[in-house]
């Protein structure tokens, strides 16, 4: 084929493709609403979500959804830039911690209608969750529908627990429920199996330090921000929570050194660590392991109160959609919420009570065990600067666990740094940084 022939071929191919792809509406042909749906579910949970979207597409030929998965690490900036530029997806998932920041950018619409006439669906959600998505001042204005509650809890190696003597009457492993039991179990699990003088089996391994810490904060009556949105990271409860976390390595020697690769989740997967605190969403990773004797349990009550951290994936809609797209988006959101028992399979706790009360959910050991904490979970504080707050917490926890700073000093420094960010943000915005 000569140059002219090649050019002609290219031209015809391009025209053909453009014709096939174009959103033309042929008279008499049914109009199909095409929508884009973004989320950060790049792990095994992404396959489950894709399965739900495909089911929706099959059952709703008038609305066709294209799902885009983007790693959480870059998800927020891509969504932010696209959203502000008016090119964002019509539907997207936003973790509740990041919702205030994204809402302030001005591209998230309210979807109160999705909750049905009179907001009937609201009764199915924890009022704390509804408060997170409500941005109205004089009347309710809900900017999203919670899909799940991903609580932090405890994963245990059942075989190691049994060997440590933590067994129920029926012979099943018994996860520790309080501080004494937790320390006793962790101590019994720590072993030097090869006789080199160093333990190679550990009772506990640090997971994500910020989340480990925030899971313990409510147990000691601590909090991250006060009711005015001011940081109180040096609250006595926070300090006690961090002290306990640091002591697990520095004082009790129950966790491998923070440097060691055996630490945390990797060690738990390899059955070298008996217990870890992590999110229910990690279940997907464990399901891939053959023969791992894992079980899920609520966080042991280390402090005077029960408590843990939880976040929620919120389904949101972009502002300024034409009515047909808006209707299609709402349809998808209701569909996903109505079918959230499928989502639970991926390692999530459905946000809706009616779904959690199904027998199918109760049979999901880890998800059900983690869901037993929902009455007392702490959600991330509502601040448009959650990223900055979390970064300070990571640094404080890391330096305390390594013994480079005392918990109180590390948290005071974090408090000072976050306060500076907050003051600057308030000055720049000339109003309170609070969303509401």
């Amino acid at each position: 084929m000569g140059i002219k022939g090649s050019l002609l071929f290219l031209l015809l191919t391009s025209l053909g493709l453009a014709w096939v792809r174009s959103d033309r509406v042929v008279p008499g042909e049914k109009h199909v609403v095409e929508l884009s749906y973004w989320n950060g579910f790049t792990g095994p949970d992404g396959r489950t979500m894709l399965q739900m979207v495909r089911q929706f597409n099959r059952e709703n030929p008038d609305v066709q959804i294209t799902m885009q998965r983007i790693a959480w690490a870059t998800y927020y900036n891509k969504l932010m830039v696209a959203g502000i530029g008016g090119r964002g997806p019509e539907i997207f998932v936003m973790p509740s911690a990041m919702l205030p920041q994204m809402y302030r950018a001005g591209f998230i619409d309210e979807i109160t209608d999705v909750y049905g006439p009179g907001g009937a669906l609201k009764a199915q959600f924890d009022p704390k969750l509804i408060k997170i998505v409500d941005v109205g001042t004089d009347h309710e204005e809900l900017i999203g529908l919670p899909l799940d509650v991903h609580a932090q809890g405890m994963y245990c190696n059942g075989a190691m627990l049994k060997e440590a003597g933590f067994v129920n009457a029926d012979g099943s492993p018994r996860p520790p429920k309080n501080r004494e039991e937790f320390l006793a179990a962790a101590s019994a699990m720590r072993k030097d199996t090869d006789g080199d003088g160093q333990p190679d089996l550990w009772g506990f391994g640090y997971g994500q330090w910020d989340r480990n810490f925030m899971s313990l904060v409510p147990q000691f009556g601590g909090r991250l921000l006060d009711e005015k949105g001011e940081p109180v990271l040096d609250d006595p409860g926070d300090v006690q929570a961090l002290q306990f976390l640091a002591d697990l390595y520095l004082k009790y020697h129950l966790a491998p050194p923070p440097e060691a690769g055996v630490a945390g989740w990797v060690g738990f997967r390899q059955q070298k660590v008996g217990m870890v605190f992590d999110g229910v969403y990690m279940l997907g990773d464990l399901k891939r392991l053959e023969g791992h004797p894992y079980i899920g349990a609520p966080m042991p009550q280390i402090g005077p109160y029960p408590g843990t951290l939880a976040d929620s994936h919120i389904l949101c809609v972009r502002k300024g959609l034409p009515p047909d797209q808006r209707a299609g988006a709402e349809k998808l959101i209701r569909f996903i919420s109505d079918h959230s028992i499928i989502w639970a399979e991926a390692g999530q706790i459905p946000a809706r009570k009616d779904v959690r009360e199904t027998e199918a959910f109760k049979k999901m050991q880890v998800q059900y065990a983690f869901s037993q904490q929902l009455d007392y979970v702490m959600y991330p504080p509502r601040t448009p600067l959650f990223g900055e707050l979390n970064a300070q917490i990571v640094l404080a926890v890391e330096s305390a666990i390594r013994g480079r700073a005392t918990p109180i000093d590390a948290l005071r420094q974090a408090n000072r740094d976050y306060k500076r960010y907050l003051d600057r943000d308030r000055a720049d915005n000339l109003v309170s940084s609070e969303v509401k």
Partner: protein, 292 residues
């Protein structure tokens, strides 16, 4: 139209595509970032961008301890990387230059890591450095040495980042130096040898002075590259532990695209630009004086 004019026109037409790209992607962002650095421009804010003079610069220099931490990490990287790369590349180049057989093969082998993208290299080295399954700790275990926390120890993490970067880049630097060595006229080295300047003396008195232009180029370019260290630490350590490996470029990325503070991110970019320009100027002056 005269022949000369039409020739000029053709020349400009050839330059046009590159010129358009250069203006759009280099000059325009340069100007925009300068303007941004004087603005409070937060993507999440409902308020429009506002002019705040030098406040972003003041914040970075006098209030933000993370800026100085990032500057410290960047300087540590440059201080470890540049001398190590120069010395290693020089040794490899001298070795290859002395070889009578297999020179091309060795050069190709050394150059090969540089053909990998930095992302691939970082992922590969993440496995080398893995404390439990990694190649390095496995080798150490074979000789009954304790494993090294390559990426999670405060004092080891940056040298680990440097080591990976060396593996990735040293072949290219060695090839450049080898070319420089081959450009030295044989009669000069032979004359020097006749005068008794062999071995170390010959290297110090003849080879090194003759390589100065190449060395100057390498030092300046590598320093500029060193100050821009980003991908390797982002992928290997995400800037940890305790932000010990988070360089200034990663701070800019985190500020602009994580915290969405474009104005402040732009101001830090300009501070980095000033640092790089200052160092490059200093290096030029020092090495030129040394050359004279």
């Amino acid at each position: 139209m005269t022949h000369r004019r039409s020739q000029n026109l053709v020349g400009y037409l050839f330059m046009l595509p590159y010129g358009a790209v250069f203006l759009t992607f280099i000059v325009l962002p340069f100007v925009v970032s300068l303007v941004l650095s004087f603005l409070e421009y937060d993507l999440t804010s409902r308020h429009p961008a506002t002019f705040i003079g030098f406040r972003n610069f003041r914040e970075a220099l006098f209030e933000d301890r993370f800026f100085w931490k990032a500057v410290g990490a960047t300087f540590q990287y440059v201080a470890l990387m540049i001398p190590a790369q120069l010395v290693l590349a020089m040794l490899l180049a001298l070795g290859m230059n002395a070889m009578t057989r297999g020179k091309q093969t060795v050069r190709a082998l050394l150059f090969m890591p540089g053909l990998l993208s930095i992302a691939v290299t970082a992922i590969l080295w993440q496995w080398f450095y893995n404390e439990e399954f990694g190649l390095f700790n496995h080798l150490l275990k074979l000789v009954h040495l304790p494993g090294v926390p390559w990426l999670s120890n405060l004092h080891v993490a940056m040298p680990s980042v440097v080591l990976m970067t060396l593996w990735w880049t040293v072949g290219g630097s060695a090839a450049v130096l080898l070319t420089g060595l081959q450009q030295i006229p044989a009669q000069i080295t032979e004359a020097a040898a006749l005068d008794g300047a062999n071995g170390w003396r010959g290297f110090w008195m003849i080879t090194l002075p003759m390589l100065k232009p190449v060395l100057l180029f390498m030092v300046v370019m590598n320093t500029i590259g060193g100050f821009q260290m980003f991908t390797q630490s982002l992928l290997l350590t995400t800037g940890g532990p305790e932000m010990a490996t988070r360089g200034v470029v990663q701070l800019i990325y985190d500020t602009a695209f994580g915290d969405f503070r474009l104005g402040y991110g732009a101001a830090i970019s300009w501070l980095l630009f000033i640092m790089i320009a200052g160092f490059s100027f200093l290096q030029f002056r020092i090495i030129r004086r040394f050359s004279e």
